[in-house]
């Protein structure tokens, strides 16, 4: 029997591979598990073994071709055998591309919708549970998603056995077999007969429960002068995430007035030389990132997540930085921010922001953040109370940085008014895990670092 050779899964977020070399030529014999061809992706070169013994009958993609994961690459079988036409692996061109190389992040965000569009008759849930559904979809291969769409299966209903609970082809086939074996459940479940009359308190509780969830306000009425525009995907995902976050965490905010005079002075002195030497501008943000990373090291609770009743301590400090774009909000992640110096932070932050604006971020660059910094100050805001970026437990908002009159105590003990570069820092934290005292200690640590640190690594810039 002819066996199809498909481009195998090579890891999360790897959507395609480039065939660099065919190790077996058409017409030659190949044994099962013998390397058949080589694929190159980034810095990795991988041998792909033959899934069966036989003769290499057909090669669909030559050397140099870039092929989507799960796409048909070749057919192995006995000489003269007709390749099967009935197949689960879609031939090239039919399968929707999963990740567009030119706009990786956008494409990743749009993934769930591709499924919906390729199967217009199939209802795809994108509403309340979109986080979960999206995640499961993203973790499933295009083949599985295609099967799901074709069979009208909600992937979130299937227990995945693959990596990270990913639904595999086997899971899908098993599910379809079980489903066809079970009688169709077209009969409506019988109405629940009241076994005993409810007591009054239960009736009241039930009524109250129903009423809270049911409250809704119509966005417009028939005949209103309105125009309806569907949300973009990024808008819809942001909306879902914000509501999910508010419903999940116990948000509390605390605001500190932070003296950035020293940072301002060091920056003013160094910024020209820094730009010349390192080819990137030195803003206030690297200083703040550095101070935040230090404070998170001292207060690791703010660098964690909640999983049920467990606390998940994140060992890496990966700072998300909110970047406002014309079309929405992205939060690329500065990985291992605690290990970077000011140069590293400045370069990474500027590079991420620049690539976020030009849609050149890769999906993994917006994942894995452990704490987020947002900077509404650039728009003039004195301070806001940001919403936590789930599953994190805290987010820091930086207000407008400006010179303000501040009462200071001079060496002789006299009060006097000085001009200082000041800024409001607002921390929103999840009170389920972080108490006010700890949040404020974190903020004091941050404030002290920014007030006292001499930033000697910039000493060479005079």
């Amino acid at each position: 029997m002819a066996t199809e050779v498909i481009m195998p899964e090579m890891g999360e977020s790897i959507a395609e591979g480039t065939i660099t070399k065919w190790l077996v030529q058409v017409g030659e014999r190949v044994e099962r598990d013998q390397p058949l061809f080589e694929v190159s992706t980034d810095k990795v070169d991988a041998e792909i073994p033959s899934p069966a013994s036989g003769t290499l009958l057909v090669v669909h993609h030559g050397e140099g071709a870039t092929v989507q994961v799960n796409e048909l690459v070749a057919i192995v079988g006995e000489p003269g055998e007709q390749p099967e036409t009935q197949s689960v692996a879609a031939p090239a061109g039919v399968e929707a591309p999963v990740v567009e190389a030119s706009e990786p992040v956008e494409a990743a965000v749009e993934q769930p919708v591709l499924v919906a569009e390729s199967a217009p008759t199939q209802e795809v849930v994108v509403g309340e549970d979109s986080q979960l559904v999206d995640r499961i979809r993203q973790f499933s291969s295009p083949l599985v998603r295609k099967m799901a769409a074709a069979e009208g299966v909600d992937l979130s209903q299937i227990q995945g056995t693959g990596i990270h609970g990913r639904v595999t082809k086997q899971d899908m086939q098993g599910y379809l077999e079980r489903r066809s074996a079970a009688p169709p459940s077209t009969v409506a479940p019988p109405p629940a007969a009241p076994a005993s009359p409810m007591r009054t308190a239960e009736v009241v509780t039930a009524a109250r429960r129903a009423s809270v969830g049911d409250f809704q306000v119509a966005a417009y009425h028939e005949g209103d002068n309105v125009e309806i525009e569907p949300m973009s995907n990024i808008r819809r995902l942001t909306a879902s995430h914000m509501v999910y976050s508010k419903a999940t965490s116990a948000h509390v905010s605390t605001v500190f007035h932070v003296d950035l005079s020293r940072v301002a002075k060091v920056r003013a002195r160094a910024k020209q030389g820094f730009a010349q030497t390192h080819g990137t501008k030195l803003t206030f943000m690297p200083f703040i990132f550095k101070a935040v990373a230090n404070a998170l090291t001292a207060f690791p609770n703010l660098n964690s997540s909640i999983d049920g009743t467990n606390i998940v301590h994140k060992k890496d400090i990966n700072l998300g930085m909110a970047v406002a774009l014309d079309w929405g909000l992205l939060v690329p992640v500065i990985r291992h921010a605690d290990r970077l110096n000011l140069v590293g932070l400045a370069k990474t932050a500027n590079d991420l922001a620049e690539r976020a604006r030009s849609k050149r971020l890769s999906p993994e660059e917006v994942q894995g953040g452990t704490f987020t910094v947002t900077n509404p100050g650039v728009f003039g805001s004195l301070f806001g109370t940001p919403i936590i970026n789930q599953p994190q437990v805290a987010i820091l908002g930086i207000g407008a940085i400006e010179k303000r009159p501040v009462v200071v105590n001079d060496d002789d003990g006299n009060d006097t008014i000085a001009i200082k570069t000041m800024c409001y820092f607002a921390l929103t934290f999840d009170h389920r895990l972080v108490d006010g005292a700890e949040a404020d200690s974190f903020m004091n640590h941050l404030r002290r670092t920014l007030l006292e640190e001499t930033w000697s690594e910039l000493d060479s810039f005079q």
Binding site: M10, K21, P35, D42
Partner: protein, 222 residues
């Protein structure tokens, strides 16, 4: 995970050793391994390499005793030579680490941690073609990996006391204008390769959650 610092080893011999260990590992006859060594001067061409990226003429190559070899790792052209610590992890990524990008990330993580121990804040860059480990905008370590049924060969090359002038004769990784650096250049210290090898073992074990087992070079090459 067996490991040993093998000293100077010819490039071809190291390829043969890696393939032998890989097949033995697949047959269940040996443990996973981390081979640490340095090569005599050589330019190697990965699967995506362009011969034009070797800028030096054959006269120059001969006069300085530099060989050129093609090999089956990912990546483009690079240089190996004295003072550069080369690490070849032969690991089985089955069943839980079957992710090529994750493997590259994990190797970068090992190098970042190793460099942190000598006081350098290194930055992994995971965007092609800059994949590697960088310090202050210069590249300090290169990666090139081969995976055969999820068993790895090839690996990383970390410039410790490398004579960086050899990189001037090539376009490393096919990136025009990339500047290479070394631990010695950045710290002003000449650390022995053995010391960095030991750090690589420690952090590889940590990152990949393996237990390191020290071997003599004879045992490892047997």
């Amino acid at each position: 995970m067996d490991w040993s610092y093998l000293g100077t080893l010819d490039y071809r011999r190291s390829l043969a050793l890696q393939e032998l260990r890989r097949e033995k590992l697949r047959a269940g006859q040996v443990n996973e391994a981390l081979l640490l060594l340095e090569h005599p001067h050589i330019y190697t061409l990965g699967r995506n390499a362009d011969r034009a990226d070797i800028l030096a003429g054959s006269d120059w190559l001969q006069s300085r005793g530099v060989k050129v070899e093609e090999c089956d790792r990912g990546g483009q052209v690079t240089y190996h030579g004295p003072g550069q610590l080369v690490g070849y992890p032969i690991l089985d990524l089955n069943p839980d680490r079957r992710d090529l990008r994750r493997y590259v990330r994990d190797l970068q993580e090992v190098l970042v941690r190793v460099l942190a121990e000598v006081g350098l804040a290194a930055e992994p860059r995971s965007k092609s073609p800059e994949i590697g480990v960088w310090v202050e905008g210069k590249k300090i370590a290169s990666l090139g990996v081969h995976v055969s049924r999820w068993i790895t060969t090839h690996g990383f090359a970390l410039n410790v006391n490398t004579d960086l002038s050899y990189f001037a004769a090539i376009v490393p990784c096919g990136i025009q204008g990339v500047e290479m650096t070394s631990v010695a250049e950045l710290t002003g210290r000449n650390l022995p390769l053995e010391n960095l090898a030991a750090l690589c073992v420690h952090h590889t074990a940590e990152v990949f959650q393996r237990r390191p087992l020290a071997m003599t070079s004879e045992e490892l090459m047997a």
